[in-house]
């Protein structure tokens, strides 16, 4: 404490206050600057995308010749939904199951290992996940929507485990004890008391993971490869996704392809932001309840 006092004592009072004001101002400016960058990114995408976005874009496939105008990314939008859908179907039970294990059962070393590896897997670059699925799946069964879904599931599982475990831990212990005291089994307690209490939090976690998967591109390059021209709803075949179509068209440089890519970028950002905001709103309800 004496050290603290002596640290504070240096310099004139006016000078210290000037410095204080300066730093406050500086930090405020920094915040404003970063918000400005966010606005720049979003506004740029919105402006470029808005002028190219129309109903056809959402309902039509790209024109045969990539340098032609018109057409849209309907096949990519459908592909994204299907692939992320497959990933969600795989990742949600596994992710929430593992989270239940960690929060309700796991106190041993194995749980420590699972928790550690969840964090590590979360940190693996997604392109490496793509390479993994290529080795496991594509080399045996070819490029397909399923391969993409599998890669996305590997990306989503650790996200869901992390978010879900935290939410399950927020459920007050009294609820569990009351249930168990009545002779209800641990399994039933978890299913009918703990999970319902954490539902909105779990949904938030899943939605954030879905939002993340929607925007992923790199692993899909190695797993579903893309299918630019056609509406494809059979995941046994190669599929396009919104992110792949944006990537392809953005790097193609044909003016009309660029216009489609901007419209695609706006669509993707809108989808992701809607998911994000919805997840936050649901999550807020949860924290209010807890």
């Amino acid at each position: 404490m004496a050290q603290l006092a002596s640290d504070i004592a240096g310099g004139s009072l006016a000078g210290r206050h000037r410095k204080n004001r300066l730093m406050s101002w500086l930090l405020t400016a920094l915040m404003a600057g970063v918000v400005a960058i966010l606005v720049w990114v979003l506004a740029y995408v919105a402006l470029k995308g808005y002028s190219a976005l129309n109903w056809t874009f959402l309902t039509d496939t790209p024109p045969g010749n990539p340098s032609d105008p018109g057409g849209g990314f309907a096949n990519g939008i459908v592909g994204s939904l299907i692939i992320v859908g497959i990933a969600t179907v795989i990742a949600v039970p596994v992710g929430i199951g593992a989270a239940i294990y960690l929060s309700e059962y796991g106190g041993d070393r194995f749980a420590g290992l699972v928790r550690f590896l969840t964090d590590v897997t979360l940190g693996i670059p997604t392109i490496v996940v793509g390479a993994f699925v290529y080795a496991v799946w594509v080399l045996n069964f070819g490029f397909s929507g399923y391969a993409g879904g599998l890669a996305m599931a590997v990306v989503m599982v650790p996200l869901i485990v992390r978010a879900s475990e935290e939410m399950l831990r927020l459920v007050p212990n009294d609820l569990r004890e009351a249930s168990l005291a009545m002779g209800v089994t641990r399994a039933r307690t978890t299913l009918s008391v703990v999970l319902p209490a954490a539902t909105s939090g779990l949904i938030t976690g899943v939605m954030l993971a879905v939002a993340r998967a929607m925007g992923e591109t790199a692993p899909l390059l190695l797993t579903t490869l893309g299918n630019d021209l056609y509406m494809e709803s059979d995941p046994n075949h190669r599929m396009s996704t919104l992110s792949l179509q944006i990537f392809g068209s953005a790097t193609a440089g044909f003016p009309d392809a660029l216009a489609r890519a901007w419209a695609g970028a706006l669509t993707l950002v809108a989808m992701v932001l809607i998911l994000y905001v919805a997840a936050r709103l649901i999550g807020r309800r949860n924290t209010a309840k807890a």
Partner: protein
């Protein structure tokens, strides 16, 4: 205080001994099945991780055993076309330049992002009116939710034209200075390490900010109040009661930010210039990173050991991500928070 209560490896939620005893009286098949299912999910995560490691190593093995791992890490020449000509010769697949590209772009990104993130976190936790603190945190998080491909696209068309005059001026002023000059050697054409690093800086900002916020949140309230009571200005309080004891935490946040930066693929691929010529000293030059070379060459590797060598790159990424994320975790858990 409250945050430090959540230790790095929390125990399972414990229930009272009586309740436990009650439930133990009747072990049921359903109960056991459920337990097996959720434990199985946990085990599946271990299995996924092991499978990733094993399959990547397995695919990388032919190249590693043929050329030796050392030659990958020491060679900066990436020339798949030379592999077929001389299968017994020197390894044409040196990956040093990609390691260099990854380290360089990530380092510049962190150099820019960490101070800004610290500032943002301080602003949110200490200066902003309490009503807008949470919304501000959300706004910063939105930066993280913008997809990588969109950042790359924006980088090409919005960021590069904006950076161009600045980079050209920097290059004009600095390129003739000895020692540092070569770092800024022009010409600046657009796609470059520098632009990739800028995009990365924006992309890692949210995670570093979020961790810094948590780190600052565990600064003891008593000390903050003591500083203010002793007549410190708010900035002095921040400096003495928060920043001083958060150095380790900020370092941990930077490491976890690094974990995010070096694995980033698509945005970097779109703006780095994708050149595999070797190591370029100028930050305005073009290059490639470990993830970008995989994205570019993976589906088209036809030369002998080409695909295997890309799996070597993936293996290195995997190992580095393991080290970096574990280190970051350990550092942060020492600070007493469970985040990221």
């Amino acid at each position: 205080m409250s945050a430090s209560g959540q230790a790095a490896a929390p125990p399972p939620v414990t229930v009272g001994a009586e309740a436990r005893a009650l439930s133990r009286q009747r072990p049921r098949l359903g109960d056991l099945t459920f337990r097996a299912l959720v434990s199985g999910s946990g085990a599946l995560i271990v299995a996924i991780f092991l499978a990733i490691g094993i399959f990547i190593l397995d695919e990388a093995w032919p190249a590693i055993s043929h050329y030796g791992i050392g030659s990958f890490l020491s060679g900066s020449r990436w020339a798949p076309s030379e592999a077929a000509l001389n299968l017994e010769g020197k390894n044409p697949y040196g990956i040093l330049q990609f390691v260099y590209g990854t380290v360089l772009t990530s380092a510049i990104a962190l150099l820019l992002a960490v101070p800004i993130a610290v500032g943002l976190a301080l602003y949110i936790t200490e200066i902003a009116p309490s009503l807008i603190r949470r919304p501000l945190a959300y706004v910063i998080d939105i930066l993280a939710s913008v997809p990588s491909v969109v950042y790359g696209f924006w980088g090409i068309f919005a960021l590069i034209p904006a950076v161009k005059p600045v980079a050209n001026d920097l290059s004009d002023w600095l390129h003739s200075i000895p020692v540092v000059g070569p770092i800024f050697a022009g010409p600046f054409f657009g796609p470059s390490y520098f632009v990739a690093a800028l995009v990365l800086a924006i992309m890692v900002l949210p995670i570093v900010t979020a961790i810094c916020r948590e780190v600052f949140a565990v600064a003891p309230l008593a000390e903050k109040e003591a500083a203010l009571a002793l007549g410190a200005t708010r900035w002095e309080m921040i400096k003495l009661a928060i920043l001083k004891r958060s150095r380790v935490g900020i370092f941990g946040a930077a490491i976890l930010g690094l974990g995010r930066a070096f694995g980033e693929t698509i945005a970097v691929t779109m703006v780095i210039g994708n050149s595999v010529l070797g190591i370029t000293t100028s930050i305005f030059g073009q290059g490639a990173t470990m993830p970008s070379v995989i994205a570019n060459e993976f589906t088209e590797a036809t030369e002998p050991f080409h695909l295997d060598s890309l799996f070597v790159v993936a293996l290195c990424l995997l190992v580095v991500s393991l080290i970096v994320n574990t280190a970051g975790k350990l550092i942060i858990s020492r600070v007493g928070t469970r985040i990221a």
